[in-house]
Amino acid sequence: MLRRLACSLALLCSTALPAAAPAPPTAADAALIAGVFTPPRAAPDFSLRGSDGRTLQLSHYRGKVVLLAFGYSSCHEVCPVTLATLAHARRKLGAAASDVQVVYVTVDPERDDVARMHQFLALFDPTFIGGSGTPADLAAVRKQYGITVTRHDTVDGYVLAHSSFVYLIDRRGMLRALMPFGHGVDDFAHDMGVLAKEKG
């Protein structure tokens, strides 16, 4: 009788327990200003044409901190701000800047070939690598990262409204965090520095 009561109580307790609470962030994650994923997952890899003339794959940059963002060279509002911020933040790192790679993937394959991406990104930082490819390849990459793009026709062409988050990928290729648009140089430099100090 007592055993049955104990079993019933145990069953009641187990069903009454709340769902697993979210795992607390690690100390390293808590130090980041950006939004963090717990636990992190591997950043989806891709294969695109790089603005340096080579194949662009995230896995090539294993061992470095990668800041991955999406945009296009004809963007007049969001992309120049993001790229200038990233360039400035990277310069602030000093010697550690060589451990950080910015990868910028176009959302506008119609206009952005690799030559144009190279020219555009060099305006901000010659080390930035751009990615382009077929519309299908780029759409597949966007899907993996949840990037949305909406085309709006204008009198002299079109503009693209696109997600403006920057993904922070650590030296092991793990997608650790995501910085929304609007954060300044100091926030990016801080988080780049935190990730750069980690071992690969």
């Binding site: 979210p22 962030p25 994923f37 949840g146 997600s163 995501l178 609007g182």
Partner: protein, 152 residues
């Protein structure tokens, strides 16, 4: 005699109304002046296990409100926790099963997301400025009560 009694009663009623109004204003001022205290800055939203399966079975399951409200300095860290068996997407945030995403907000704005956790496919996160003035605090408390049923 009757006129005098009527006047007295009116005066008493007016005085009582005045005192009540004064008490109400005092109470509102006291409430408004108090700083808003929150035990945590985190606002947790969970996607329950089995959500996807129930959707596939034809149930109209709405997990999160279409509009999430955060307030700078009070509750300004969004925590999304996916307890379901399949990945769920909130705009650029792709959450694997069991994964959590913590996003601190520092700018008041309205953020629009495409979101698979919503039947409409859309979600808004409204980040309101810190209620710094007494009137803003009172307004925030009333709105928060209307939204959540809790007085802070």
């Amino acid at each position: 005699m009757n006129v005098a009694t009527g006047t007295t009663r009116r005066q008493i009623a007016l005085r009582a109304a005045g005192i009540a109004a004064l008490l109400l204003v005092t109470a509102l001022t006291a409430v408004a002046l108090q700083p808003i205290r929150a035990p945590t800055h985190e606002q947790l939203f969970e996607i329950p296990k089995g959500t996807w399966a129930r959707r596939m079975a034809g149930a109209r399951v709405e997990i999160l409100p279409a509009e999430l409200h955060l307030t700078l300095g009070v509750r300004d860290i969004l925590v999304l926790h996916n307890l379901d068996d399949v990945p769920q997407q909130f705009g650029p945030i792709l959450l694997m099963p069991g994964q959590t995403f913590r996003m601190p907000f520092t700018m008041a704005a309205s953020y629009q997301f495409a979101c698979t956790a919503h039947l409409s496919g859309q979600m808004s996160i409204v980040v309101e400025p810190n209620p710094a003035t007494p009137w803003a605090r009172l307004s925030w408390r009333v709105n928060n009560y209307l939204r959540s049923g809790r007085w802070s």
